[in-house]
């Protein structure tokens, strides 16, 4: 399988967010500039659910804890969907080295 493009990762992420956000009844539009905490009402604990769903989908792990901890130095409220897409895309491993 070819490496997913950023656009594919965005579409995957939107699907995951829609599924997760169903429980707190979010039904608005999700764009690259949508903010995770502000617009989507994610709470910090949901980061773990998000990470788990993404890892399940791509069959690999991502250093989310380290990523989120660095964000705190910037403002975590500003985290946009596109930032998460860039992070995931930047850490995708070629299929043969997954594990």
């Amino acid at each position: 399988m070819d490496q997913p493009t950023k656009e594919q990762v965005f579409n995957d992420l939107v699907k995951i967010i829609r599924d997760l956000a169903e429980d707190w009844e979010f039904s608005g539009e999700i764009t690259p500039d949508t903010t995770m905490l502000g617009d989507l009402s994610f709470e910090s604990i949901d980061a773990v659910a998000l990470a788990s769903a993404i890892e399940e989908l791509y069959g690999q792990s991502f250093p989310f804890a380290e990523y989120f901890s660095q964000l705190e130095e910037r403002k975590i409220e500003d985290l946009r969907v596109q930032d998460v897409v860039d992070f995931i895309h930047g850490h995708l491993q070629p299929a043969e080295t997954k594990g």
Binding site: I45, P63, K98, G99
Partner: protein, 531 residues
Amino acid sequence: MNRQCLLLGLDGASFDYLEPLIREGVMPFLGRFFASAARAPLQSVVPPLTPPAWTSLVTGRSPGRHGIFDFAAPEGPGSLFQRMISSRDLSGETLWSIANRHGRRATALNFPAMHPPPAVDGCVIPGWVPGRWIRRAVRPAELFDRLKKEADVQVEALGYWPDQESKAIEGCRREEYEPWIRLHIEREREWFRALRYLMTADPTDLTAIVFDGADKLLHLCWTSIDPRSAPEPSEAPFVHLRGLCLQYFRELDSFLEALVGLAGPETTVVMASDHGFGPTDTLLSLNTWLAENGFLVWASDGPHNGEAERVHYATHEIIRGLDRARTQAVALMPSANGIWLLKDGERWREGFDSDEYRSLRVRLVEGLLDARRPDTGERVVRRVWTREEIFAGPFFERAPDLTVELVDSGHVSVARNSRAVTVRAQVMGCHRPLGVFAIGGPGVRGGAQLGVRSILDVAPTILHAMGLPIPAAVEGHVVEEAFERDWRQAHPVVHERAGAAPDAENGSGEEMDAQSREQIARRLKALGYMG
């Protein structure tokens, strides 16, 4: 006929506080069950911690061989950052997957490391899942709606809420005790109602649940549950809190009675705990000790507490608070009492046989063994384990380099406190290595009191009672003395040959092919870990 089993997991149960509760009439059913069962004190894993212990109990394997060491795990090889464990970390077969492999269905409620839920033929509601995600965490997916509609179960209430959980180890204000105890009483009711519904509407061959409220209550309210530790038993607030805690145990007793009744006399019933409980009055702040002894250096803007001693920090607070280049050792979690060693600011990943690594460990072990209480001068550390001593197996590199066992078997603090060892303002409860095991049902030697058994023996004993063979990967042994002689002769223990079972059930990429097993064996040998 398929022989069936009901496993009732009692988190934190030990005979030394249950027996007084039975004598006082708080748990009459448990008293009758223990009297009619074969029972034994159950030796937990090291450290006696909930996630690795329950995982060992349902796999029959030690942590180095199932991969669960703590509530969290490093998020990558060589990383200090910790993420919550998931079912992807658990390698190899569980009781549920073994039962499924033999065509038996299974129900597993509230076990750790079960999220996302594995592909079990039966029902899974994982434990330790935040309430906000539990709808997506159950298996089969429609179970959430069924439990709500058909059984009126408050499924979200089965989840946990991190701010609440931390009170068990951090303590809380006096007025918070009552709502906190009630939270656990109510959550246990929902677990009971969920299982009662499943046992009626969709019974399976193996049915298992963990009631974990006792673990939380015992941490915070030890003095209320065990009056021997209470400072002033006559004090009114103490009497009130004790009443609430006893209500928890009274209700638990009625749940156990109802579930055993539903299972029927032909079902083997096993009650077991992940570890026991006892009092603790000291607090070892491991990072403070490491800093005082030159193994850890805080950055100039590192964390600092006020007057009150704390137990817990978010892992990233600790990591970001370190002067990493000058730090050789750090504790990250207040649960498994682990110490992670650093070299040039990163985790040690090789050179475990070097003099540098070994002498660092020796200095840490010797220093920690000499840590003392400020009031009596007594030692606080019983033993410091190296990971090859307690975590041998394919996953040992995910475990901390050293594990500190305290004299009272309690948990350390990872906070930057003012002093390394302090006497707690209030006695709290902490885990102890000896839990409980009791088995009742067909062929069981009722009333037999056996010597200490290992937590690894529970899974093979359950499999045997169900008429299933024991997989080769299981390290524990069937507790054969729990059964009558005639029954044993008619039902000999059957072992599966190696290779009959899949190595890993989760496809997590942790499966070991023969070659990588051999590589690891060679490496362990080179390091002196294997004979």
